[in-house]
Subunit: 109 residues, 2 copies
């Protein structure tokens, strides 16, 4: 998994533990793909400050994952769901279709 996708997941899981400003800047940068200069202009703070807040926020998010391992657990769980789906997809039955629909919801969570 590339760093961008991983940080987006970390934000999904632990973003609420950041301050409002940290969360906003991380969301601008990683979810809305804004450059440091664009964020700097948008918020009227220096490009260096934006950079520092991003680095600091990344460090906080990685520290939470080191402590809790919940994203890691989530990814392993999703892998197993994909495996179940693959088994069921080879079968034809209306009940299977319903089961796959629920599994799809879980994979998307």
């Amino acid at each position: 998994m590339d760093k961008l996708s991983f940080i987006t997941l970390l934000l999904d899981f632990y973003g609420n533990l950041l301050t409002e400003k940290q969360r906003m800047i991380m969301s601008y940068h990683f979810e809305e793909d804004m450059s440091l200069s664009e964020i700097s202009e948008e918020l009227n703070i220096s490009r260096q400050a934006v950079h520092d807040i991003i680095k600091r926020s990344e460090k906080i998010l990685f520290q939470y994952e080191d402590d809790l391992k919940l994203v890691d657990k989530f990814l392993k769980q999703r892998q197993k769901l994909i495996e179940v789906k693959s088994i069921l997809s080879a079968m034809k039955d209306d009940r299977i279709t319903k089961a796959i629909d629920i599994i799809d919801e879980l994979i998307e969570l």
Copy 2:
């Protein structure tokens, strides 16, 4: 879900964010079912101190759940897995058996 089971889940998810002492006392009380007096003797601190640490730790765990809602998400997810299992259990097929085994692993996680 009763309070004891819920706090045990909170400890599973967020316990690593407590201090070592908080985690130890919570584990004694909620996982090993030790009374406040027993913990007080074991650690050679007052019963009141044990009580205060438990209340403080509960507050921290509930605050993390308020912020992150990961236990709530986990419980909803488990409910859906139980639903999928119930659909599949009504069917007879070796592939289904394999799928159910994986789902059982996920429910246990």
